[in-house]
Amino acid sequence: METIFQEKKAEMRADAVVNDKFIRAIEGTCVPVLGEDIDTDRIIPARFLTSITFEGLGELVFYDERFEASGNKKGHAFDDLRFEGASILIVNSNFGCGSSREHAPQALMRKGIRAIVGESFAGIFADNCCSIGIPAVRLKKEDLVWVAECAKGDPSAKARVSIEAGTFEYCGRVLAALQDESHKRAFLEGRWDAVYTLVEAQKDADKVAQSLPYLSFNVPSREFSDNAIAKKV
């Protein structure tokens, strides 16, 4: 029941673009999912992408890492009661590499994750996190080792990711947390849902289109597509 409630809340948050768009800080407890180069296939296996919505992905996050073929739990951090309700995910380097599937951060968000703290992130994954309002911040390797130990030692310890200050406050320490400047601004200015910002400059975009030689010498014809064929018939 609790998880369903959390997922509902998470989904409401995903839709609440107007009400909840300024992201200055995230507070919560931490859950460590360690390992280098954790790819998006591991975060959400491709067979769960067979849907036309992102609904229900929360419970499927890290599925093959969490469950045996029989359905028995393997003892993953996401199934460890001590980490229940955690909203800050602690990871290592190159997290989110591989497939561009936004389903990966969507699944994490729907599992209750609000911020990710790691050594480094794959580019597309970091952008996808930003697009849905999840800060992904970088700590120094040695700081991360300490953070992961603290999280395992005291899962109830509260942490705070401050976007404005660029810090991660945890267990009495204030650590430098790096982030892409563009992501930082997008969160603070409430522009992480980029589409409205992009729409503002539509006229300028259309001018750029007019200046591109390849769009004038070669407007792609649609005569070959199925649609055109359908229309002709």
Binding site: L49, S100, S120, F121, Q202, D204, V208, N227, I229
Partner: protein, 467 residues
């Protein structure tokens, strides 16, 4: 000071700076498929936005297609639902669509260049990380998430961080039996799987100049496996030759104008780079992956590395990888038994790939213990293979030759999946745990010729000895 292709294309397409290093970038070509676009169309609707330039978006279906039985409705009702949703969206929005049976359907990164939609000096986006493939024709092409697909649909622009450019020069000539895939795996091995974060890879050097454009696509395809969202080869005469006579190529009367634009966008010889690396082509041998990321690869004549002899940071990942793979450090990769052979995917499903594999397969039989599957990347590739009799070489050897193009066993979003701990010799791009559909399935990445050799021998073998 000269400029790189990336700089030229970037400034030609820049709408405005968004602050913090992000540019609002005009997207010249946008591709969509059934997996990452439906939510984007829903988001548009929720926000009361419409598709701004339907003429610059192109749709196809590839990920969920059952390549052995494409009759509609698909047997898998969820796949059918995804197909219907895509078809509804392209119909409602007036977006060009290449469906199965159209003669132009295929894997999005195969058909884009093949139809001449992907052109040099353009910006290309698609909700798929292997969009970097289109860099093979000299485009600046990168994968985006679904929210960004929404952004492109709504505005034909995207907020993008301008990457640095790393010049990856492959010097000298590759030996016989060494393909673009081997070069790509060697680059991943040498540079690692995260060194490319924040970079675009510009591939150059005599080995790259000598590659045909399809080989360059294979090379660029793997850029994302090194962390680089973009990979490209500057357009040259080979590129221009490739662009001729394709369905969406500029018409004859405009072709020379187009060609001079394309050439003008090539990197200048005095361009400045953020980083440069050199790879010696003549030392590259056919490559095979032994681990769970594409950087964990070695030459066919080498032993699997011992974790204890590796650099500190690589040791633990190597131990975990060997544990997953059930392989032993210090033993040869050659002779590793395989259960499945797969030739296909956006990395290696073009006609040149099937020709290379057919040269190995001709007159031979797939080992009894091996299930071998070949899936052409597009309907045009399938047609060409038929014309050349290549499909017959595959079926005579005991391969299943699929009639319908699709992603198939690369990512197992369709009926093609490994089962249990099967080992698959695969021309795809990712050997991640579980990637091929079984949570404990194992993948050995290699070139089409090497997969063909492995299929015949029932184990990893040197394809150079087979032809």
């Amino acid at each position: 000071m000269g400029k790189t292709l990336l700089e030229k294309v970037w400034s030609a397409h820049a709408v405005r700076e968004l602050g913090g290093g992000k540019t609002q970038l005009f997207v010249g070509r946008h591709f969509i498929h059934e997996v990452t676009s439906p939510q984007a169309f829903s988001m548009l609707k929720e926000r009361n936005l419409s598709v701004h330039r339907p003429d610059l978006t192109f749709g196809t279906m590839d990920h969920v297609i059952p390549t052995d039985c494409p009759n509609r409705p698909f047997l898998d009702s969820v796949a059918e639902k995804m197909a219907l949703e895509l078809e509804k969206n392209v119909r409602n929005e007036g977006i060009a669509f290449f469906g199965p049976g159209s003669g132009r359907q295929g894997i999005v990164h195969v058909i884009g260049p093949e139809l001449g939609i992907s052109q040099p000096g353009t910006t290309i986006c698609c909700g798929d990380s292997h969009t970097c493939t289109h860099g093979g024709v000299g485009a600046i092409a990168f994968g985006i998430g679904t929210s960004q697909v929404r952004d492109v649909l709504a505005t034909q622009t995207v907020a993008a961080q301008k990457p640095g450019v790393r010049r990856v020069e492959v010097r000298g000539a590759t030996a016989r039996g060494v393909y673009a895939k081997d070069v790509a795996l060697e680059i991943m091995r040498a540079l690692g799987v995260n060194a490319g974060i924040g970079f675009a890879y510009e591939y150059c050097g005599s080995a790259v100049s000598r590659m045909d454009v399809e080989g360059r696509m294979t090379l660029c395809n793997m850029s994302i496996e090194g962390g680089a969202r973009i990979g490209y080869v500057s357009p040259d005469d080979e590129t221009i030759k490739y662009m001729q006579g394709r369905d969406f190529s500029p018409p004859a009367e405009k072709f020379s104008e187009a060609a001079s634009y394309w050439k003008s966008m090539a990197s200048d010889s005095d361009a400045e780079y953020d980083d440069s690396v050199f790879i010696d082509a003549q030392n590259i041998v056919p490559m095979v992956s032994w681990g769970t990321n594409p950087g964990q690869s070695i030459g066919i004549d080498q032993n699997i590395p011992k974790p204890e002899s590796m650099a500190q940071g690589l040791r633990k990942p190597a131990e975990d990888a060997l544990d997953y793979m059930g392989l032993v450090g210090g033993t040869p990769i050659a002779g590793t038994k395989i259960d499945v052979a797969f030739i296909g995917s956006c990395t290696n499903s073009r006609i040149t790939d099937f020709r290379a594999a057919a040269a190995v397969l001709k007159g031979k039989r797939v080992a009894k213990s091996v299930r071998a599957i070949a899936v052409p990347g597009s309907e045009k590739v399938a047609m060409q293979a038929r014309t050349e009799g290549i499909d017959g070489v595959f079926t005579d050897a005991g391969f299943e030759w699929r009639q319908t193009p699709g992603c198939s066993l690369c990512l197992a979003m369709n009926p093609d999946k490994l089962s249990g701990r099967q080992i698959c010799a695969s021309t795809s791009n990712r050997n991640f745990p579980g990637r091929q559909g079984s949570p404990s399935g194992r993948t050995l990445l290699m070139s089409p010729a090497m997969v063909a050799a492995a299929a015949i021998c029932g184990e990893v073998a040197d394809a150079r000895k087979s032809v």
